[in-house]
Amino acid sequence: MKNEKRELIDKDGLRVDGRKKDELRPIKIMVGVLSNADGSAYIEQGKNKIIAAVYGPREVHPRHLALPDRAILRCRYHMAPFSVEERKSPAPSRRELELSKVIREALEPTVFLEQYPRTAIDLFIEVLQADGGTRCAGITIGSLALADAGIPMRDLVVACAAGKVDGQIVLDLNDIEDKEGEADVPVAMMPNLNLITLLQMDGLLTPEEFEEALNLSIEGCRRIYALQKKALKEKYISIREEVET
């Protein structure tokens, strides 16, 4: 963060990839992309390419981890060795372990875990190509993979970051903006219930700037939520077509 080496917003107010300040990157979402998983989803957001799969509810191994009154939700966020500029060792880094935890905690509030006591619901998120904002994109498709697996949920969870770049609050930072910008605020929420399920921040913001960034993140979440619903619908339509033909 924060070595201002180059101009990240030009004199016309456009960003390094030509976007306006409150503009999302192009997003493509697909649901039900893997045949083995109980649920799965795939997203391209900018150059991010991320895939998620859910297995479960299923038996817990080792058994002493099972809970008598509810399911446990487990999450593994993992990056492919070739997903980043310099090859990443396949062993999980401290960053990946932290993100696995916060992603799990971003999705836990929405799942009716008490309906499946003594079981585990496993969510695996694999970043195939990383371009900034992978945790948010991972949450967005993680909740779709849960829905695709038929896990009962209070709401979808959708995530988007805002941040500060060249002194201005902008939406959905890409890799360069994330690395060279001044702050990043990833937010996840349940859009219908208006509840925040993930909130992190690094960088430096005044409380006022933070509030602006938070509001912008939430706006971004709402827009991505529309895409989530569309992707889910497409899956069901294609199933109906399959069934009807």
């Binding site: 401290r94 960053r95 372990l97 916060v102 905690e105 509030p109 399920t197 690094d202 938070l214």
Partner: protein, 259 residues
Amino acid sequence: MVSRIRQRQIAKLLTSGKRLDGRSLTEYREIKVEPGIIERAEGSALVHIGRTKVLAGVKVEIGEPFSDRPNEGVLTVNSEFVPLASPEFEAGPPGEESIELARVVDRGIRESKAIDLEKLCIIPGKKVFVVFIDIYVLNHDGNLIDASALAAMAALINTKIFNYELEGEEVKIKLGYTQLPVVNYPISVTFAKINDKMIVDPGLDEEEVMDARFTVTFDKNGNICAMQKGGGGTFTKEQILEAIRIGREKAEEIRRLII
């Protein structure tokens, strides 16, 4: 595990603005800072928040800079939940709680630029000082993040580096010590949400029944330099913004304990 009865008791008290140990919702337990207790370390501090005890030690060694920051020293924060501190802790490589804690503390220090890392460069691209902050939890009675962040900062403030001179590319140690260049003082403030009430500095019994946790870190100018939501619950936007208002004041108060 705190029983359901305890949980109901805590929640009931909170609705009338009270806590089990008599604190108000926005009141910290007693905080005590003991700097310099590990003479062999370059810096150290033991922080007590109530019965929570966290020791931070700083070691400074000579190492290589990151290739994309050739002119800066290196900071690494590590945390150990040693099994001495809690019946829940186990020996072994750090778990996700411990890693999260270290990374939140790290972000606060790094993003507020608390250490002037450029002053830790010895030979650009080749030799720099590497600052290891090791956080050692000795007794876990809740709110480890705030105690750890405070211990880390108190230890850094307390850190001295040996003087040196260069002979070619060899570093020769000279007599005397210089203070580590600490230029900002980030302070973390952690909230727990229990039955929609926000409380500051949760104790272990409160953490065991909380829905979610929220930490916000302020630098010396009152700017936010790190945030972390934890736990499987949720916050409203209003709760977050209120926590920031309260947290900013609390951070000011706590900062006075170390500078």
